[in-house]
Amino acid sequence: MEKRLIELSVNGERHEVAVKPNDTLLEVLREKLGLVGAKEGCGVGECGACTVLRDGRPVLSCITLAVDAVGSDITTIEGLSEGEEMHPLQASFVRHGAVQCGFCTSGMILTAKELIDREGNPSATQIREAIAGNLCRCTGYVKIIEAIGAVGDRKK
């Protein structure tokens, strides 16, 4: 299939990449831009491990075509920290022991970021509903919910 040259805006930087029409955003992020924080779990949009933010909204990059992301601002987990300074959500995940194997973590944090940006101080129910599309096999979600809640509380 013929490749096309497209321009993607990722974490505030513009990248020119040659992509096939059927390349997913996840493939381009991981394989062409070296941003491997987003993970491929199921590849069919069920597990949430590939979650990235598109214009601030969580999307599943494994079922988003790269060519469809042209003109949007994409944020991946790599774009969250300020240099060595972790984003409050990242710091809270570490402090609460909310990371075990880490495979779901980038998707969890990005989903949570949108929730916190939108709601400020979400309730436990809102947190549970927001991350219900992000599966985790390790933690039982308890410490993830606590970690997100603690960032909301701080914002009060």
């Binding site: 022991g97 509903e129 599966l135 308890v142």
Partner: protein, 290 residues
């Protein structure tokens, strides 16, 4: 510290550093760890069967004790005290109850190297279980509260109250993380997860079809550490990774029985099975359906 143990998220990297730091009297951050790098680290059987804390933890404990033994030998000569009277704490090695007789950890290493023609202090240790299966087992008592919708057969686990004996919890937060994860895994096992295979084909090969719990199903989980000082475990620790999956499903099944009178012995306990059980009970005038 070089270890073959693979941290798959259960926290063995932290645990091994904690053990070494404790033995050598050093801050946690002073321990540099390389784990599960087959080019560099000694072999390890792998992370399974809840053996990492006991096996790799004991190997780390022994290696750290060997290093401390060598250091205490040279320090005791220098300070004119018995090696048994020495204590390592806060980057210092000192005579017990005589903190004035002390030497810093780095001075002690320096002294060791001077006494050994500049050789670095290296120790290697391993651990093999004296029992073929496991030298120690964890125990748990799990109490479950459920709500069952009698019209739809849907079950909601409201609360799990957990008392788990994983020996001495060396890192209570990671022990809790293991228990919480195990409770949700046990819930999936009890209520929804089912790999359906027909004629050699998996007919539900997706997360949606397999149905593992999401954050919405997470119950309140109350955890009590039952602290037993296991004689075989490093600093008395045992395991929590798998021993805490097992009690969850039976606790849920018993709670469903207590709530509805429906006794189901085949997992997963789906809403359909509960409704059929309730129908059978009505058919037999409210007697317990088995």
């Amino acid at each position: 510290m070089l270890t073959g143990a693979s941290d798959i998220g259960q926290g063995s990297d932290s645990l091994i550093c904690q053990i070494v730091a404790e033995v050598l009297g050093l801050p946690f951050d002073d321990i540099h760890l390389t784990s599960a790098d087959t080019e560099l680290t000694p072999p390890d059987m792998g992370t399974y069967s809840s053996r990492v804390t006991v096996a790799a933890g004991n190997a780390a404990l022994r290696a750290a004790n060997l290093v401390r033994g060598e250091l205490f030998r040279v320090v005791s000569e220098k300070l004119g005290a018995g090696a048994d009277d020495l204590v390592a704490r806060d980057r210092e090695i000192f005579v017990d109850e005589r903190p004035d007789l002390s030497m810093s950890f780095s001075e002690a290493i320096n002294l060791y190297q001077k006494r050994h023609n500049g050789s670095p202090l290296v120790a290697k240790a391993s651990y093999t279980s004296p029992d073929k299966m496991s030298p120690t087992y964890s125990f748990g008592a799990y109490v479950c509260e459920v709500e069952v919708d009698l019209r739809t057969g849907e079950v909601q686990v409201v609360r799990m109250t957990v008392a788990h004996d994983g020996g001495r919890p060396l890192n209570p937060m990671s022990v809790e993380g293991q228990i919480e994860g195990s409770v949700l895994m046990g819930m999936g096992y009890a209520l929804s997860e089912h790999l359906i295979v027909e004629d050699g084909r998996t007919v539900n090969p997706s997360f949606l079809g397999y149905r593992m719990p999401t954050a919405i199903q997470t119950p309140e989980i109350r955890i009590t550490h039952v602290i037993s000082d296991d004689p075989e475990g490093p600093f008395g620790a045992k395991e929590t990774g798998e021993g805490s999956v097992d009690p969850t499903a039976p606790a849920i099944a018993n709670a469903i029985y207590d709530a509805t009178g429906v006794r189901l012995t085949e997992l997963p306990i789906t809403p359909e099975k509960i409704l059929r059980g309730l129908e059978r009970m009505e058919g037999s005038n409210g007697k317990t359906a088995d």
